[in-house]
């Protein structure tokens, strides 16, 4: 039963990518708008866009991290006992 719960938890942790997708889309949309308004600042805008993308992507990486944590850290009693046999 723990295995099933772990899988459900790992799947639920992936929902966080939705927020990340919206955030990255937002950042890059603003970058496109600003480049359209003032194309001479394209390089500077691109630099800010990449910075914003990286900061937002950082939060997106928390989701797989939590998923792996949930699916690998919790071990059932049987498994724990077997590993300790030596």
């Amino acid at each position: 039963m723990l295995e099933g719960a772990k899988l459900i938890g790992a799947g639920a942790a992936t929902i966080a990518s939705a927020g990340a997708a919206i955030g990255i889309g937002n950042v890059l949309s603003s970058s496109i708008h600003s480049v359209a308004r003032n194309p001479s600042l394209a390089k500077q805008s691109f630099g800010y866009a990449i910075l914003g993308f990286a900061l937002t992507e950082a939060i997106a990486s928390f989701a797989p991290m939590m998923a792996f944590l949930i699916s690998s850290v919790f071990r059932s009693k049987n498994q724990r006992k077997k590993v300790e046999v030596s």
Binding site: S61, F68, S86
Partner: protein, 351 residues
Amino acid sequence: MPNNSHAFLGRTKPTISDKSFLIFRARSGTTRKNLIFMKEYIFFIKHTPVMRVVKDYYVTIERTVTDNAIIFDYHHYHNNYYYYNLSAFAEMQTRTQAPSPLEQFSILPLIPMNIGNLYFSFTNSSLFMLLTLSLVLLLIHFVTKKGGGNLVPNAWQSLVELIYDFVLNLVNEQIGGLSGNVKQKFFPCILVTFTFLLFCNLQGMIPYSFTVTSHFLITLGLSFSIFIGITIVGFQRNGLHFLSFLLPAGVPLPLAPFLVLLELISYCFRALSLGIRLFANMMAGHSLVKILSGFAWTMLCMNDLLYFIGDLGPLFIVLALTGLELGVAILQAYVFTILICIYLNDAINLH
């Protein structure tokens, strides 16, 4: 378990002390070459503590067996027979849980040194940090030999000049409000941080190597030390007026205490977020590539034409992901460095 596929027999205690063996019930068709590969894997997993569990088992190679899907069953200590997929053997773990993509991040003590309970071992993490350091130093040494290189730079010199110039512009641009000499005092520390992180991240992309920054202890240690350093610089430069940073301008007085508390928490969270961002990106990226390449490898080894053709999907995704990982490695080093510059700017010129 089907009981008509015995390949070999018997269980005797191993006579040679240091080698540990694993018992296998192999299906008919495995070649001797695959089993030799298995012995090397036994040597590899000798250093992990799980070998104590399996020290009572041994390998006998009797006949050829075929490889099929992994069924890993560990119920009876003295009566265990393992089916195994020999071609995916390098990924297999002898523990009872399924192989997890997090095993590439395990820290192995290469030279164990323990003073009482303190753990001073030379681990593979230390080895790869030393390797990174030596790579950077070698690069810079060979470029600046004989007093500083050519006037028209060759490729290596261009690379070093690129990194130097990049961080120089970063520092000059972000830390405003000071004279040039004062600003450049922060430059060496930031250059070293950027170069170290860049080379560490890039080195983790080499197959079978170890990503140093994929452990949060390392990145949090770095980010906490830099955070404490920035706070000290802020206090040094502004005295106790540095605490006015926590109260933004134009705030009505009743709201002030809560806002100060919130700003304090947000300020202390910067240290955490800086380290965790780098760690999460590195770990998630590497785990993802490991999982997908596990799919690709498994599909490659199923003896079926349809799977072989369908294997192109995971292979291309692994290719694209590796490219993304390379970009993320460079980007995360850049983001770490530019955030340090921004926090330094905040501490020196209290907004």
